[in-house]
Symmetry: C2
């Protein structure tokens, strides 16, 4: 798989800086976020990535369908932005739990997909539902497993509604092997980072560079490849220490790690059995 | 279901203080932890709870089977302590991931159960595997769903190896309704607390009193009851603010909440859609 750099991994870099970094390090894909794209300008960003010969492996992000406002207009705009950028997919974060009715919140995700799928199809944009780690179920994503994302995608054509396989969100899943195999035609994005312990105070930033944590990324990458996925492997890391490093340093590091097939960098072999609360 | 107070909910109270609090508030069950029991003395604790007419709804905890030392001797001691206390079950926390091989770690849990089940059976103690929220998969519990715990229990008699249904650990599970129904003969312990947001810096302490968070405890309690469980509902909350309150105040509060059938106390109906990282 070719390497893609999600710009959130080097979040202090502007769109032009991220494009330059990718070019300097031979990274052929980039994952963009809507806010910095809007800052630089949608059309200018589209021209910039095209002239740099970069592929936009994903646009982050639409979704957040579970509130009483389902954000459908904003998601239609996100679809149009993904089309303008020629993005391989628009990542959809389901949204959290606005009350205590989890099945209803999950139902609102299904309803939103049915409304948006025709718009996405006519725009030539592939929607990608992201299963989100259960630690974020309440405040970020009520779709908790790859199997559940596949159920939500099932009513739609695989080319219109796919799923994201993000190592951080799915690595713990007892059904992972079977679910990745079942996802074969719908894997729209493969994102990697690593689960690190101890978690930082903000669990959202509990992501390490691939190879620095507990996840068997060699194994997961093998499962995704065996499912026939031949797109980009996109590195998306939210980590204060990584953000503090120069973007060139991070990119060079990721190119090295990618070349090893995401072999572990640190030894996770010591015992982490916890103390009692 | 009768109410039980897990002593970790009032962790600053000694064993005699917890027993007194239960007696004063008409709480008929108590969940004990091995460390404070050892401090007060096993035989003295057994006499104390017996003379107070209390049922030990659970002893916390054995398990942590996933390290290279599987702690089998310590678990045999825990079984004997549970027998001495007449505990309804010994809670087994699976243990975390000492390396990157999740299937192997899960296999060590199965192997340990096979070794310990005969000892538990002869001691008349019911083992209770606790599925642990995936946020703790790496450092605390590699058994992530109720369905997975049931698979591990399957080779053993339901009276010897059961499962724990802890609201905090299982509430997010898309398969919850089916899994609780499937667990019917094996539900050895039902524990309640609530998932609160934002999470504190230490996610282990991200537990609220039942009714203060996102979990539909009325619904979950209905599922557990429909599965035929007629044991205690045990409140286990790790929360600095709760620990800072007088034990009598916490117990009175829990008796009131239990009387409502765990109706929500705060309104979770406002929208919690998150900001971007």
């Amino acid at each position: 798989m070719k390497l893609s750099l999600n710009q959130a991994t080097v979040k202090r870099a502007s769109v032009p800086e991220v494009v330059d970094v990718c070019a300097r390090h031979g990274v052929e894909g980039v994952g963009l976020w809507r806010e910095p794209v809007a800052e630089h300008g949608l059309a200018r960003t589209a021209d910039l990535v095209r002239s740099a010969g970069l592929t936009v492996s994903s646009l982050c992000r639409g979704g957040f369908f579970t509130g009483h406002d389902q954000r459908l207009d904003d998601n239609r705009r996100a679809i149009d932005e993904a089309a303008a950028l020629g993005a391989r997919c628009l990542v959809l974060v389901p949204g959290g739990l606005p009350d205590r009715d989890l099945p209803a919140a999950r139902g609102r995700v299904a309803a939103a997909l049915s409304v948006l799928a025709p718009h996405a199809e006519s725009a030539g944009v592939r929607l990608a539902i992201e299963p989100v780690h259960p630690v974020f179920c309440a405040d970020r994503g009520v779709v908790s497993t790859l199997a559940q994302a596949l159920e939500l995608a099932a009513p739609h054509a695989p080319g219109v509604v796919g799923v994201v396989v993000d190592a951080l969100h799915v690595w713990w899943d007892p059904a992972l092997e079977a679910s990745v195999a079942a996802a074969a035609p719908r894997i729209a994005s493969y994102q990697v980072c690593d689960w690190v312990t101890p978690l930082p105070a903000d669990v959202l930033l509990g992501r390490g560079l691939p190879g620095d944590g507990h996840v068997d990324l060699v194994g997961l990458t093998g499962l995704v490849a065996a499912a026939g996925y031949d797109g980009f492997v996109e590195v998306e890391v939210f980590n204060e220490e990584v953000w503090a490093r120069p973007a060139d340093d991070v990119a060079a590091d990721l190119v090295r790690r990618h070349a090893t097939g995401w072999e572990p960098v640190v030894d996770g072999g010591h015992d982490r059995l916890p103390v009692s609360p």
